[in-house]
């Protein structure tokens, strides 16, 4: 391994964590998704430098890592807001007022889907079915599910986070 320890997060401790993940797989490269999850957990994004380090660690071309990062929407290369809303726009949520919820968040925060507020506090994504239609309309606030959304509930969440 020729990775430099001062390179971002790729220090010996972190590499040990990665080794534990790759040990579970028959082929090292198969661990790419869990490795990317771990890197994103540490850095809040997948930087081009990390892509290079991951490629070197797994012994695969950088372009392969980048292609995977850009294919899966849970990976991102720009920082999200401290509080990130991923709001579902698919059928059940839409039937139960999801469109109003999305519109309300946009108005309230002054941002469109894909954008972050200038203070870096909030960001918004519109996503497809989150697998929680029983509590529609639903979103993820960072990693937590929040269901039965109303304008009032959104206001409360935003006030609490401010």
């Amino acid at each position: 391994m020729t990775l430099k320890s001062e390179d971002h997060i790729f220090n010996p401790d972190f590499l040990q964590q990665l080794d534990k993940i790759t040990a579970k797989y028959e082929q090292k490269r198969a661990a790419l998704l869990p490795v990317l999850h771990l890197v994103q957990e540490k850095e809040d994004l997948i930087s081009p430098e990390s892509e290079k380090n991951i490629a070197q660690y797994l012994g695969i071309p950088v372009v392969h890592v980048h292609e995977v990062v850009s294919f899966y929407h849970l990976f991102h290369q720009t920082k999200k807001g401290q509080c990130h809303f991923s709001v579902c726009q698919t059928t059940t949520c839409a039937l139960l007022g999801g469109e109003d919820v999305i519109e309300h968040i946009q108005k309230r925060l002054g941002i469109k889907p894909g954008e972050t507020t200038t203070d870096g506090k909030f960001s918004l994504s519109v996503v497809e079915c989150l697998g929680a239609c029983e509590i529609a309309p639903v979103m993820q606030q960072n990693k937590d599910y929040v269901g039965c959304l109303t304008k009032e509930k959104i206001n409360e969440l935003i006030e609490k986070t401010k």
Binding site: A30, H73, E128, C133
Partner: protein, 419 residues
Amino acid sequence: MEKIITRHFGQENSHRLENYLKDKGYEAARKALTQMTPAQIIEEIKKSYLRGLGGAGFATGMKWGFIPKNNPKPKYLVVNGDEGEPGTFKDKYIFEQDPHALLEGIIITCYAIGSHKAYVYIRGEYLKSIQILQGAIDEAYKNEFLGKGIMGTSCDCDVVIHPGAGAYICGEETALLESLEGKKGFPRLKPPFPAVVGLFGCPTVINNVETLACVAPIILNGSEWFFKLGYANQGGNRIFCVSGHVNKPGIYELPAGITLREIIYEHAGGIPHGRKLKAVIPGGISAPVLTADEIDVKMDFDSLKSIGSMAGSGGIIVMDDTTDMVWAAMIAARFFAHESCGQCSPCREGSGWVYNNLKRIYHEIGRPHDLANLPGIVSNIGGNTICAFGDAVTMSVGSYVSKFRSEFENKIKERVCQI
């Protein structure tokens, strides 16, 4: 009504091994590993008429039987928990409420197909499911239900959780395999089928979470018991996920032979605000929509197929009479356009055209030829792609247009009037 898959749901600490062991937990695995041969298990599952509950409804026992006997390569079991079909949320409950039922199913299945390793692919958003299942796996290793020489036998079985990262297409089994190998989720051309060339080029069985949760009860109570609970060529119960315009959205474990009317009105509490039913998606967004006149259909795979829809993943989305069906078609089309993986041109381009077309019609800027073109675009996607996603676009969107055509025509007329 006898509950099988959800029998422990709602109990205190239902996810803990201690609780699972109280109710004959892991006895089926012990029976399978010590008293039965793999061939006997496969035969038992065949006779139970257990069908794949992820959506395709393929006979589970037959699928296991496709694993070649004399192939020297390792075999794998891959559990599909990438629950992404809109309207579906059942696997999440199994992960979180009864993870040991899944693990016991995995142990028995691995033994039956000659595998020593299972990967459980869970959608990346289900962090709680991942955490709870990992806890159950750790408990199982500690108590020798997993690992080397499980339960004092010579059988080995390892289970690894693989988190997805937000791509609907990875629920397609060969795209899931690609994703498990660290690649983008592009479905593979078949043949070869995964049973021969699957994960890492080795023979692989891919089963849905709910399907595997049925395996231990079948081994314990016998195939005949399970078969009798079901209807026609489908044994057992399944979990129906009901959402949309109903009073009591949620999961309901019911026999396959129940009608859609009974599910909506007797179990899910009917339509709120005294409104009337207009349409229902019976098996996830890919299933063709049904009109209010069609809900006396039984919910097994074959009955729904016979009326031109599908039982799919058991995700029932109910729409009341306030629903604009052009809008509903547009929402479905947007989903498909967003989630098409982009590998095949007819699907990548076609799903976008369909969405744009419907957007124009819905916003009353549609031209008469938009509606005229729609069936042609839609029908040229299905059958021309590597995986079944293209067929889903064709069947789903096509059904809104054919069953609610006058609503589409009215939107076009309204536009013409404005001019």
